[in-house]
Assembly symmetry: C2
Homo-oligomer: 488 residues x 2
Amino acid sequence: MTLVKDSLEPIYQQIARYFRAQIESGRIAPGDRLPPTRDLARQLGIGRISVVSAYAQLQAEGLIAAHAGRGTYVSGGRAPVRGLDGASRQFPGAPDIPMREITRLAEQPGVIAFSGGAPPEEFLPVEALRHALNLVLDRDGAAAVAYEEADGYPPLRAGVTEYVSSLGIQCQPDDVLITGGTQQALDLVVQTVLGEGDALITANPTYLGLLDIVHVRRVRPVGVPVDGDGMRLEAVEAAIREHRPGLIYAAPTFHNPTGAVMPLHRRRQLLALAAQHNIPVLEDAVYHELGYRGTPPPPLKALDEHDLVLHASGFSKILLPGTRIGYVIASGPLRERLARVKQAADICTPGLNQRAIHVFLANGALIGHLNRVRLELRERCAAACLAASRHLPPGSQWAEPSGGLYLWVRLPDDGPTAAELYVTAIQHGVAYAIGTLFYTDGSGGRHIRLNFAAHPPARIEEGFRRLGAAWQAWQQTYAPAVRRAPIL
Amino acid sequence: MTLVKDSLEPIYQQIARYFRAQIESGRIAPGDRLPPTRDLARQLGIGRISVVSAYAQLQAEGLIAAHAGRGTYVSGGRAPVRGLDGASRQFPGAPDIPMREITRLAEQPGVIAFSGGAPPEEFLPVEALRHALNLVLDRDGAAAVAYEEADGYPPLRAGVTEYVSSLGIQCQPDDVLITGGTQQALDLVVQTVLGEGDALITANPTYLGLLDIVHVRRVRPVGVPVDGDGMRLEAVEAAIREHRPGLIYAAPTFHNPTGAVMPLHRRRQLLALAAQHNIPVLEDAVYHELGYRGTPPPPLKALDEHDLVLHASGFSKILLPGTRIGYVIASGPLRERLARVKQAADICTPGLNQRAIHVFLANGALIGHLNRVRLELRERCAAACLAASRHLPPGSQWAEPSGGLYLWVRLPDDGPTAAELYVTAIQHGVAYAIGTLFYTDGSGGRHIRLNFAAHPPARIEEGFRRLGAAWQAWQQTYAPAVRRAPIL
């Protein structure tokens, strides 16, 4: 591969174009492995960021696919997956750039990062946590730092039971399993309910962490399209008949990344569909409490008449990400199996963290904190929508969210994809999450997710301005070059 | 089933005898499921403890086997296991009484519990932890409670690198992955290296939590016999040739439950064997620092010339169980895969806990604490060995440990098995861990594990006295009855 370093065409575009030619000409066959980004970067004597970006673009074009921890392969082939039978299986649309990669690129000094998934850091109740920790250590002494029950600290399980009852969920403390954040709750359910190769239905796009689970657990993701009200039910029904899934994953309220809220009647229809085919539903309710325009419909679990819903949520988005306290609400034998898998996974969730969160629940501090965060989120959301209309390229599309942390934007067709624009955006001092990351099939190349919650209004305005400027710069500099440049 | 409540034969013996007859007569076939302990207890209007104990005895006899979260089945048959092919597989020796069950029974007021795996609670450095937590919150503010890097808090990874160098392990911070306790480190390695049905070699008996992982992950455990120096190598070699394992699990220093220490030459031979067959070795070093009679040989990782050893350890046994901080030291592509599985499992380990442990490492508090704990453990170990020679039934066998928390005792043949004695022991106010729990094949019925570290010398003396008394009582009351009693 020969790179023209002073070409108008950016390095990563040249790399992408080289591999595109290799693939289209068949010189690289489906299933062939591409060199690791780090190695290739060293080989070519260029920054890894260019290689990462080139691979991202090729995946956005569906030419390649990555497999968690197993490398990047030309699509249409079979990636080596260790299986009982020794046979290989392929998984579509594994994110080519893991979120950690995005985060690193976005962490460069001066970059305004809208790429992460964290709640606003300046509102994390550090002092209240300090108070809770000291209170717990005074009250419980060594018991607070000894092994905790595998199911969770009993008073916290009772506290969660009471807390979710305010959302309309009726359950017993025995139905509550405390987990290491909502992520572990999702992972425990997936590995308890599904086996390797089993199908899981999810909205497409969907939560990035679910795709991580899907690829690590070797589950087969079946993505169904969404509209403004979330998953389209006729597509869900078709997917059920075609793929016989073992589980339906649904994030009906302030869906990540789209922000969609599933209306009450569709929630009931989804549950009826699940009941008709007797398929358990994994509900991800982690954003449910972050609404700032009206109250969302009740969670699926509150409408669950056939005991099919496993309700997963936690305190990372609404209170303290770093304490890693989540929970899953389930009952019957499945609940017992979840507890066994949890115990094998890490024995128990840290007792001190559980007891501190329990203090927040017990003394009402959580409610006060939530009200404050909601007000701030509403303000930041308004600032983001205003900045978007001011600075994003004409033809961009988005829906104003009524809750959650994210603005989901579709860039216009007559310009760079999210992956193509990414490096330029970083160079202009702004970062976003590339849309393809959230899709099961590597589509969504024109979408970007912007976490406006992470910054105060002034920074949001400035960040969106930079994004618009990056778009302009790309159009003026690269677009003609790309059209002009021959295959090397 | 008819129970004679005022019989000299204890209820649980009657239940066990009923099922034994049913099984031996073929009225219950291999693969048939026994009723859940809770249901049967309700049905018979008796305490669940009797049913649990009866099942424990039947398993000790090899007549039945339990499968984590999937119930108890008559042995020799096939338990329903969800697999890709839909076929069923059977796993030998799943613990019939999960550790949580044992713990509950042992938690009755007045019972001196030697059954757990926790370090002495009265030495947990609660005040030092409080100091560390407040220091971290002062110093880092919100960053201490935000999302942490998936690989772990970088200064802690550097601190672990320096810490293990004192044990002779040379590694880089990038080789260190912080986990939710050592248990998660073990689980991540097993699920990253092995697939369903793959074989794993382990000492037999072995760590209970490893058996939990084995059953949840549907890995095939291959137990090799031990002597006073740990795993017998000719048995390891034979097992390698017969089962082609994907991983060898080894706890060479103060092995749980036996307390054995593998000598240097055998460590080298084990590694040579692994290298010869190119099989990775998962080293569990969680007790390595708890020696109180001389210094143990270096960890396997310190002797690892072929980069085959994955070194798992943590701070639960030596410092604070409840903070759930452990680590695995690995390098190369496997290290990267471990990080991906970790991120899918729970995104990250709580940052606050990691930063607090880092303070203990950085200010030297850990070393001081360790020295204090070692002194106390030596005293308690001596008290336990003395009490054992005083009170345990004649013919009992044990080896005096040189480190760790446990005394591993083999009861004499002319009396009850550990499972048979258990209920009587509880009634006499003492609890132990039943030996069969630690075996891959349900053998070891005459063994018990006693965690002497959990109690001061006086309590140890009293607890062992009660154990001896329980043995006497069982012999005088039940033994003749059992010999006399006809099948119901």
